[in-house]
Symmetry: C2
Subunit: 184 residues, 2 copies
């Protein structure tokens, strides 16, 4: 439809502008901002938004998908270069920081199901990597064995939702998750 090559130049411009504005607005105020408002700030009509992105969900997918892909790539990088424990905690922190900087991403991460379903696979990929790293970290003894993936997800979500400095809560959670805590 809006092919990057064949589309009219004004259409390409508008599409990019909508994406840019929507990314800012979702990051600042979350996904509940009306489409109408995004159109207004982008200086286009609502019709223009919904032609490029037939559904609000499509818009979200286009924006958040890119962020998730970045994080997934980082996860792979970490898995390759670091030991399991280090890699797991690094991904945990990166995920949290990404969410803290992007209100929309944080909302999404809070709704377990939606993150998995988002887009084709962007969300599922990241979730899969996180699960693998958790398992590996537990295997290697860096993370206590009694926590589940869903516990980790909940903790990530709690950390991202913070407005205040992240360091204290990250320290608390990292200490709690590490194996030395469970053994006193």
């Amino acid at each position: 439809m809006t092919d990057e090559r064949t589309a009219r130049s004004d259409a390409r411009r508008n599409r990019a502008r909508v994406l840019e504005v929507a990314a800012e607005v979702f990051a600042a105020e979350g996904f509940s901002v009306p489409v109408h408002e995004i159109a207004r700030r982008a200086g286009v009509g609502t019709g223009t938004v919904s032609r490029h992105f037939p559904t609000k969900e499509d818009l979200l997918t286009a924006i958040v998908g890119a962020r998730l892909a970045d994080l997934t790539a980082e996860a792979d990088e970490l898995a390759r270069r670091e030991d399991p424990g280090t890699a797991f905690f690094a991904l945990f922190t990166a995920f949290v920081r990404a969410g803290a900087a992007d209100c929309g991403l944080a909302e999404l991460a809070g709704a377990d199901r939606r993150l998995d379903e988002l887009g084709e696979r962007a969300g599922a990929d990241l979730c899969g990597r996180l699960q693998e790293l958790l398992a590996a970290a537990q295997e290697s003894g860096a993370v206590r064995p009694d926590v589940g993936y869903s516990d980790v997800r909940a903790l990530i979500s709690a950390c991202m939702a913070r407005k205040d400095p992240l360091e204290p809560i990250l320290a608390v959670v990292a200490d709690g998750l590490s194996a030395r805590s469970s053994t006193r």
Copy 2:
């Protein structure tokens, strides 16, 4: 208006029934359930609901206020009978368990501001008690000094949102919060 003594008997009955049903429904499905649905399940008209509780918020206040009052009383009890560290962790756990059993309460606890306001309206300053217990527990050296009240709130909220067993995540968070973690 709907005075417990002077009201007509059918009015009292209906009011009680609405409260009962709403408490169940909010606990099971959260605050987003339409008022219409509550009326239907209670076997009354929507008008009856909104006469007794002019606003959906009023209904929520009536229900959650009672829970908050219970927890506040428990907090006072704990503060009187236990040492600060024990009392703090006990309240933490009680709060989490209450939220895990009540979807509506969990939603509310996630929205920092609203819980404060609702507690105030219901005359149950649970948040204040939690803050006091945290401060006392930190003073006594039971809780690491670098965590803030808002960190605690976030962790509580994350724990309550769980559907799976609470024990693992409670153990993780308790270990992370305790002072021995911060000192290695």
